[in-house]
Subunit: 403 residues, 2 copies
């Protein structure tokens, strides 16, 4: 073999699809690398492992694997396991035909991109944004237009002005509940307005909703506006509630996209692991209201962690950081109030002090409306005593710049 | 919401990617539909459920889920779980960096297509062919050129003539071991020649190898030619040995494709279910040589099934069908020797008699060199007594046309 290899080296032309994919940098580097045992890492939207129902899941999978003929090890339907789709459809209050099982939330996003965004298409996105979505958009070499996300969520006045001025995006990406990174939740009335804009200007809203079940205070915002429209793909996942490693999620699709989504999915990887689907369907059927019990155990833990970290920052760094306690989700998004502090230097000093977080500048999708003066602190998988220690280390990092 | 919906109906323009995807017909319809309990179904390349190590897998997953911090439920690396990649790399005798974990064999194919085949690109393919690969090629709206697969596998003379005449495909798709549907295995020397052609004419061989571990007679053909070249992507899966429902496979990639494959995969669904990866890695580590024990239990069962079905066809339909006993894999590919028999009518009559199979015409990728005079009978998941009954039913179906 070897002689032939050396006689002609391939020119190796990448496909157009692949050429549009950038090398990882910034955000993803930190999230996806190996963990650093000596540091307190507040990096990713990671659930607390001790809240995941591991024992019950092992039992559920064991029951599933005891079934005659091992149906969980056989081929399944591209749309997903009927029992699991039915459980989800009942919870979402949509017809089961509109529920498509995915390999987690990001997979739902990539399917939505392929379905809706023509190559080079224009997509409006959150600013600040969950940065990996911009990487996903590279699948369609999309152009992006940032829309500001403020304390009340996506700025629909800004969006509408842009549309009225003639912009015609094919899609809009937003995280409506407990925005990543900036905590805000889009109020129910604004959801109705967003969907009306999507219908009037004929774009599709990608409503990316991984944190919605993890509200610890206040009233939930409605998702019915998303489900009542042909202009919304609602992307959901069990990642934050049952574990990222499952790679299990779902999308609620408008009817018009269902057959295309199935056609695409059947050419990707046929279907999501039936062992995982059947195991989770069995787990959720453990008892009436089982999933709610799992959530009810989780929410107060995350509430305490959010409060603990916010209080500790208040105690140790109130003169440098402004903190808002979130109503749900996994993130604090403190703002650096002391103009003398350099944000990048702070991240470097924090790392030296033994605390890792995502710097706000990673989350910009366009003009910087202050994102780079924020820190994103993920508290989901960190116990309270470590969160207090993290706040102390962050305070020491701040002090380094003050000399 | 409803008023806005009715004021403007969306034009709903599909993306170019989606427009290239055809509606399912023929082959896939039968494989993916619900099973028919009253019939004997010899439809899909499905392993025998009783050979899958269900109990051991449940125990392995239980052990995995007992680990502190539940690492199998956390995020993982896009390339795959290190322990699993190392097990596979050792078995394949390649550096671990070249092993990428996938959601099963079809997923490996779709990744290879995206990596190598530019939209509208030219791809040489088996004729007859595993039909779902042609559906996969729709992801790149590829043009196909059929190369005959005969009793000794892919016809390399035909391929070389075509290349010498000036054809410049970007890829070639073939099933080298126990060809689906036509049983043949490409001999080792021909593999070397195929790879030399790929290197000389600068195309990439997609060597799709789901059945390679299931040889029951004869000497294995070498895969080292595939692994020693920058011009082969070797696509593998645990589907036929540990279960399709896992959706777990791997590709052995040339180094030049590794980073692109990871970049693509990270934008699709991040990584394969870590629960599945960790469960299978734990299962395979049950004992030294555990996977070989699983295979050693499986091979004689499939050998007996192949022989039993071939013998029963010989006994009941020798005047209408010519049968070759395969050396491995899950398929018989009998030829209808009686010219008076209409093949489509036979399939319909067989269905009426209570036996379902795939008709040979589904497997054509170009000129019909006799495929439509064949039947593909899958025997993997059917016990011997049912295979004998299947042969009798098929004989009755043949008799229907003879009046």
């Amino acid at each position: 073999m070897t002689p032939a290899l050396t006689t002609q080296q391939s020119a190796f032309e990448r496909t157009e699809l692949i050429r549009a994919l950038s090398a990882p940098k910034g955000f993803g580097d930190l999230t996806l690398r190996d963990r650093r045992p000596d540091a307190i890492e507040l990096l990713g939207g990671i659930p607390a492992p001790e809240l995941l129902p591991t024992t019950e899941l092992a039992e559920a999978i064991t029951r599933v694997l005891e079934k005659p003929g091992a149906p969980a090890l056989q081929y399944g339907r591209t749309e997903g396991l009927p029992q699991l789709r039915e459980l989800i459809a009942a919870r979402e209050n949509v017809p089961v035909e509109r529920v498509l099982i995915t390999n987690g939330g990001f997979h739902g996003l990539s399917l939505a991109i392929h379905l809706v965004v023509e190559r080079g298409g224009l997509v409006a996105v959150d600013n600040p944004i969950f940065p990996l979505f911009m990487r996903g958009l590279e699948l369609s070499a999309a152009r992006i237009h940032p829309i500001t996300v403020g304390e009340l969520g996506l700025d629909l006045d800004e969006l509408e002005s842009w549309l009225v001025a003639g912009a015609r995006p094919v899609a809009l990406y937003t995280v409506p509940d407990f925005h990543n990174p900036s905590q805000a939740t889009l109020p129910s009335a604004q959801r109705v307005r967003l969907v009306q804009l999507a219908e009037r200007y004929d774009f599709v809203v990608f409503a990316d909703n991984p944190y919605r079940e993890l509200r610890f205070t206040g009233e939930p915002a409605e998702v019915s506006a998303f489900h009542d429209s042909e202009h919304v793909i609602h992307i959901n996942t069990f990642t934050k509630t049952l574990g990222p490693g499952l790679r299990l999620g779902w999308v609620v699709l408008p009817e018009r996209f269902v057959s295309d989504a199935v056609a695409l999915r059947s050419r990707q990887d046929s279907h999501t692991s039936l062992l995982v689907q059947a195991g989770i369907a069995e787990l959720l059927a453990t008892s009436e209201g089982y999933f709610d019990e799992v959530l009810d155990r989780a929410r107060p833990v995350y509430a305490r962690r959010a409060r603990t970290l916010a209080d500790a920052l208040e105690q140790h760094a109130a003169d440098a950081l402004s903190v808002t306690v979130p109503e749900g989700g996994f993130f604090l998004w403190p703002r650096i109030t002391d103009d003398a502090i350099d944000a990048d230097q702070l991240a470097a000093d924090a790392s030296a002090e033994g605390i890792e977080y995502q710097r706000g500048s990673f989350f910009r999708s366009g003009p910087d409306h202050g994102s780079s003066r924020h820190l994103r602190l993920s508290f989901g998988d960190t116990p309270e005593e470590k969160l207090i220690e993290a706040a102390k280390r962050l305070a020491r990092a701040i002090d380094r710049q003050r000399g």
